[in-house]
């Protein structure tokens, strides 16, 4: 049990939890405490200093929306967002109840009951978080589906790579803000169904995420595939593995660490891009939340935006940890340190 949890912490990069686990298991408490102090102490002190600096700076910065909110005001706004969320859930329940009542009445009158509609109220902050996560995963998944095969082809065939490389290098640094208008117009032009399964704004922001998060995976896959140990390829030639076996048994496993390095970068880029895309495409999500609050210009707005800033940061961090864990678990060389 102890070893398993330690292994898990190592894998997820949460090494600072190891002494706690050891401590709980009663293993050499004094040494563990010292180690804990060393690994948690420094970040804790840094965080406290940050809070102190923030609250002093905040009380000295006067904006036209009042003082810049400090940690406590931001925390208050977080609580009020939670309250709003519960209030919205109550409203949602009432909304469904009304539909049930109306249907009951209709049945009484001998009429067909109507379908129960999904809640039409405004999404809360927490709904927006899930919308954002959903959007980024769709965009990221599409990018992955495109980038890995193309990367493998580029890595295997240097002619194709030489041909595509200039294009990749040109498109890679393009900002999402530049893509967005084009994506918006193209989506409007091509995505015309009467009963769309996805909202256009959703497709627009997901595609923008795809366009921007494509490149790290593609480039890393290419590099990963093209730098596979020549001997490994020779082994597979000596074994006369078929083309497909060679791809799935040798090429992909061999370049997995690089592919995952790319995926991790891609997801980071995608998450960053998404916030900007949501702001501009007006797709529901955290970006729109920030934008709406900025537009509202109420005395609470800055505090609410700061809550969003932290949430965006924490989610970005968690996504990175998840990818790091995956990256470590596919790494061939377990002794290598990946940060």
């Amino acid at each position: 049990m102890l070893n398993r949890s330690i292994r898990f912490f190592e894998l997820t990069g949460m090494n600072w939890l190891i002494p706690i686990a050891n401590l709980l298991a009663g293993k050499n408490p004094k040494a563990q405490l010292n180690q804990l102090l060393a690994s948690i102490g420094a970040p804790l002190v840094a965080f406290l200093i940050f809070l102190l600096l923030w609250s002093t700076a905040a009380s000295n910065i006067k904006t036209s929306l009042g003082n810049l909110p400090g940690p406590s005001q931001t925390w208050e706004q977080f609580e009020s967002l939670v309250d709003e969320h519960t209030a919205a859930r109550d409203k949602e329940a009432a909304f469904y109840q009304r539909q049930e009542d109306r249907n009951a009445k209709r049945i009484e009158q001998g009429k067909e009951p109507k379908d129960i509609r999904p809640y039409t109220g405004a999404p809360t902050f927490f709904d927006q978080i899930f919308t954002s996560l959903y959007t980024v995963f769709i965009g990221f998944a599409v990018a992955t589906i495109i980038a890995i095969p193309v990367g493998i082809i580029c890595g295997l065939n240097s002619t194709i790579y030489t041909g595509l490389n200039p294009l990749i290098q040109i498109f890679r640094p393009v900002s999402p803000l530049a893509w967005l208008p084009i994506v918006t117009m193209v989506v409007s032009a091509l995505y015309t169904t009467d009963d769309p399964f996805f909202a256009k704004s959703f497709i627009t922001s997901a595609l923008t995420v795809t366009l921007c998060s494509l490149w790290p995976t593609l480039i890393n896959t290419t590099v990963g595939v093209s730098t596979i140990d020549k001997d490994l390829i020779n082994v597979s030639r000596v074994l006369r593995l078929s083309w497909m076996t060679q791809i799935f048994k040798v090429v992909i496993p061999a370049s997995l660490p690089m592919i995952f390095t790319g995926l991790r970068l891609s997801l980071g880029v995608g998450w960053m891009v998404l916030i900007a895309a949501e702001m501009l495409a007006q797709n529901p999500g955290l970006g729109k939340f920030v934008w709406d609050e900025f537009q509202n210009g109420s005395s609470n707005s800055l505090g609410r935006i700061l809550v969003a800033v932290f949430v965006i940061g924490i989610i970005g961090f968690l996504l990175d940890r998840i990818m790091l864990t995956l990256q470590k678990s596919v790494s061939h060389d377990k002794t290598q340190e990946i940060r």
């Binding site: 036209s64 509609r117 934008w291 709406d292 537009q295 509202n296 210009g297 109420s298 707005s301 609410r304």
Partner: protein, 467 residues
């Protein structure tokens, strides 16, 4: 689909044309006869709707119709969604992402005549009267103040005319500094009101020349007007990019609260009870969903009535709703200032303006042809319509875009359901208000004769003038 509503729409259509033929007076008789078929429930073509709005207090009828359950009473499941700016909003109505939206009165007209995005957009519901103001930065206010006459208590005499601003603009001009001001959209009420006010004080706001590809509207201008989305007005003023702006609430009161500017005049003073926003839908949507459209208008009429009921008694509750972050989202106090019948000019100079926001009184929700024609005259005046058009053209466009027949049909349904009374609606109008006089420059407007009206202005295009 087809089977479901094979009775209702044809009947509706027939009634509509019938009503056109016999005129408004007879219409009510027809309705009383026909009502049993409807009184129960409209056969809705579409029940799940999404409406767009811009964060302004005059979106209130939409918020109230939602929160008070008026939409649900009609069997409609509506989602309200704030839009980034007026252009995005209009584009999304045109391409069908939105079923309808809170629009500037000039937007359906502009779109239908092809100024900006070309599309046939119509309206059957006017959302409010008045509600806008012109704000200048503190710096400009200090320079204007000496030119404004004071009353015995030392307060500025209202309305403040642009005459007081003229010397300031001239000084900037002679210093070679462009005098920039913000408005919200080229075909917005705010653009025309700001231009009206400036021109009435002898400041030229500039012409458009779309036939030459010039849509900046700054030809011959003393003051240069540019587009800024309403919620960003205060921030843009604060940044010094513009010296003043014309916008709806709460963005004038916001400037007072933030201490970054001073509202100098409300549009109530520029033109008493001027028509403002409308509820616009695309013509295609209206043709495909006639009953749904009726149901929407019904809900909106009820919401507007609620907002004005008992001498604005419900306004504090409305302000509370509007202050929610998903609607207007500004602080309660800021919205309450104008919504509850007062308006704060210079900090501390709070005055009674009971009709600052009118949602239902004075037949505010009826889509008058004459209102449409006023906007068209202003488009001609400032060159957005580059050539001379006969009076008949103005009337034809007004009828193409403004749909009082749909409005009256909805009104009649509400009367039959006992939710409204006949006196609430102008059933005997021919769609033209009587000649209106309450303009800041005392010029009379008669919607029946747009070309004559245009000739009365000293600044502005008229007759066969082409730039």
């Amino acid at each position: 689909m087809e089977k479901q509503n094979n009775n209702a729409p044809t009947l509706t259509k027939r009634l509509t044309s019938l009503q056109k033929m016999i005129g408004a007076t007879l219409a009510s008789v027809t309705f009383t006869l026909a009502t049993p078929a409807f009184a129960e429930e409209l056969e809705l073509e579409k029940e799940d709707l999404k409406f767009g709005f811009i964060k302004l207090t005059d979106m209130a009828p939409l918020a109230i119709a939602y929160e008070k359950g008026y939409f649900e009473d009609e069997g409609l499941y509506v989602t309200l969604e704030a839009q980034a700016n007026w252009k995005v909003l209009l584009d999304r109505v045109i391409d069908g992402q939105l079923d309808g939206a809170h629009m500037l009165a000039g937007q359906p007209l502009g779109a239908t005549i092809g100024f900006g995005t070309q599309a046939h957009v119509i309206t059957a519901f006017s959302m409010d009267l008045n509600g806008n103001g012109i704000t200048v930065s503190n710096e400009i206010w200090d320079q204007m103040k000496p030119n404004i006459p004071k009353d015995e208590s030392g307060k500025p005499v209202h309305p403040i005319k642009a005459d007081a601003l003229k010397p300031v603009v001239e000084k900037y001009k002679s210093d070679g500094k462009p005098f920039n001001m913000g408005m919200v959209f080229p075909v917005s009420t705010h653009n025309y009101e700001l231009r009206y006010w400036l021109a009435a004080g002898g400041i030229h706001p500039g012409y458009y020349a779309p036939h030459k590809g010039d849509t900046s509207g700054t030809i011959d201008a003393d003051a240069l007007l540019s587009v800024t989305p309403p919620p960003q007005m205060p921030a843009t003023l604060e940044a010094g990019t513009i010296y003043g702006y014309c916008v709806g609430e709460p963005w004038n009161q916001q400037a007072v609260f933030k201490g970054i500017g001073v509202p100098v005049v409300t549009d109530y003073e520029i033109w008493k009870n001027n028509p403002e926003k409308v509820f616009g839908v695309s013509n295609k949507w209206a043709e495909e969903n006639p009953n749904t459209h009726l149901a929407v208008v019904k809900a909106l009429i009820r919401a507007a009535k609620w907002l004005d009921d008992n001498d604005n008694a419900n306004r504090p509750e409305a302000v509370k709703i509007l202050a929610q972050p998903n609607y207007v989202g500004a602080d309660y106090d800021v919205i309450a200032n104008s919504m509850t019948g007062t308006f704060e000019y210079e900090k501390g100079d709070k005055r009674e303006v009971p009709d600052f926001n009118v949602f239902f009184r004075y037949y505010a929700t009826y889509p008058y042809y004459s209102d449409a024609i006023w906007y068209l005259t202003q488009m001609r005046r400032w060159g957005q319509i580059s050539e001379e058009k006969p009076d008949s053209w103005f009337h034809e466009i007004a009828k193409k875009v403004y749909k009082p027949e749909i409005y009256l049909e909805a009104a009649q349904l509400l009367i039959d359901e006992g939710k409204m009374s006949k006196e609430d609606f102008p059933f005997d109008t021919d769609g033209f208000r009587d000649p209106q006089t309450h303009f800041i420059d005392n010029i009379t407007y008669d919607g029946r004769k747009p070309n004559d009206y245009l000739k009365k202005f000293s600044i502005g295009l008229n007759g066969d003038t082409v730039l």
